[in-house]
Symmetry: C2
Subunit: 217 residues, 2 copies
């Protein structure tokens, strides 16, 4: 299996992020994002094209190949998992985690990534609220919604949280809310957007703040 230098990986990531929405990414767009010149980018594009990471046609922009997309999502996965670790476990402020994660994402060890994921409780979102791809590179944002968005009468299952601090997890514990819990939306209070839900046989009030951090489907 071929490996990539940190610089190559950063190019791959940049192309991935710039691809959002667009079919192809322009050379100049990459140059701007990487704070370098178009000439350097063209150089790297030829290299990544040879390695079959991108589909590159001169003057026509680039797109990631399937393999390129896998590499990119794995980088994003690692980056965001490390961000969760830095914030939730080491207590870094959420705005300080990015730069260190930028270094940590280049550590090469699949086993490390998977063990870290498990250790963190398979988080679905990083401290900035961005979704974390799973080991296969899938991001399932669209399937999820927030508990605060569920309609009255609807029954849903808890699949994740956007905040995995000890404080919030303890709160969930005390309310008997866990991953996999079946939750029935009983009533939505207009006044403060809090919600009344039924979990098992008991009714519980949950504030809007908490309900906006609980992911369900």
């Amino acid at each position: 299996m071929q490996t990539f230098s940190p610089t190559e990986e950063n190019y791959i990531k940049a192309i991935y992020h710039l691809s959002k929405g667009k079919e192809t990414v322009a050379t100049n767009a990459i140059a701007e994002a990487m704070e370098t010149t178009a000439a350097s980018v063209t150089d790297m594009l030829r290299k990544l094209n040879d390695k079959q990471i991108i589909d590159y046609t001169k003057y026509k922009g680039v797109s990631l190949t399937t393999e390129g997309r896998i590499i990119a999502t794995q980088l994003v996965r690692k980056h965001r998992l490390w961000e969760v670790f830095l914030k939730e476990k080491l207590g870094f402020a959420w705005d300080k985690v990015h730069d260190i994660a930028e270094q940590l994402e280049h550590i090469r060890s699949e086993e490390l990534t998977e063990r870290l994921d498990g250790f963190l409780g398979n988080p679905k979102f990083d401290p900035h609220g961005d979704p974390i791809p799973d080991a296969k590179g899938r991001i399932h944002t669209q399937n999820y919604k927030l508990l605060s968005e569920v309609s009255e009468g609807e029954q849903v299952v808890v699949v994740g949280v956007k905040d995995s601090s000890a404080k919030f997890l303890n709160y969930l514990d005390s309310q008997k809310i866990a991953l996999g819990s079946k939750v029935q939306m009983e009533q939505k209070v207009e006044f403060d957007n809090s919600v009344k839900v039924k979990i098992g046989d008991t009714n519980t009030m949950i504030s809007d703040m908490a309900a906006s951090l609980i992911l369900v489907m």
Copy 2:
């Protein structure tokens, strides 16, 4: 503050480890340790000498300067802290942690190191039993001894453990042994090397296996 490439850092670490006991380290010794040629080493020595990391006199071998020694111990500190993390938190086997720590030790962030240290409970030893330098680079091996080495009648204070797995820490908890606990050695049993100690007002039997993992002074 000047920074160093991973390769430079590896040279510094090698010189540090080869300095054990000796006054100076020979070029060839470094070449062998780094699996390279003496010529490459000489190159790097000149470079590190210019950066004031080592004292280098041609044909006379090298030694680390004070600054070099600080950098080396910080690298060792980071390496061993990450090893503890990988083993105790992520559940890696002790013989698998070295290679990944070899990568992680090059991550640049003092705050990361100090927060990691705190998160791990300021461990004094890595999974191989090697001592972890503190933030100031000090290694206090000589002050410590194992509980199993204490003489009858002696009173000591618990300052660390060599195994910080949940299993062992739970055991210590149940025996009311914590960091800072005063322990009086009552009796050493010759048959199985277990020890009888007094903690507060209560007497407890501790097996040789456990007593050999508890650091006291």
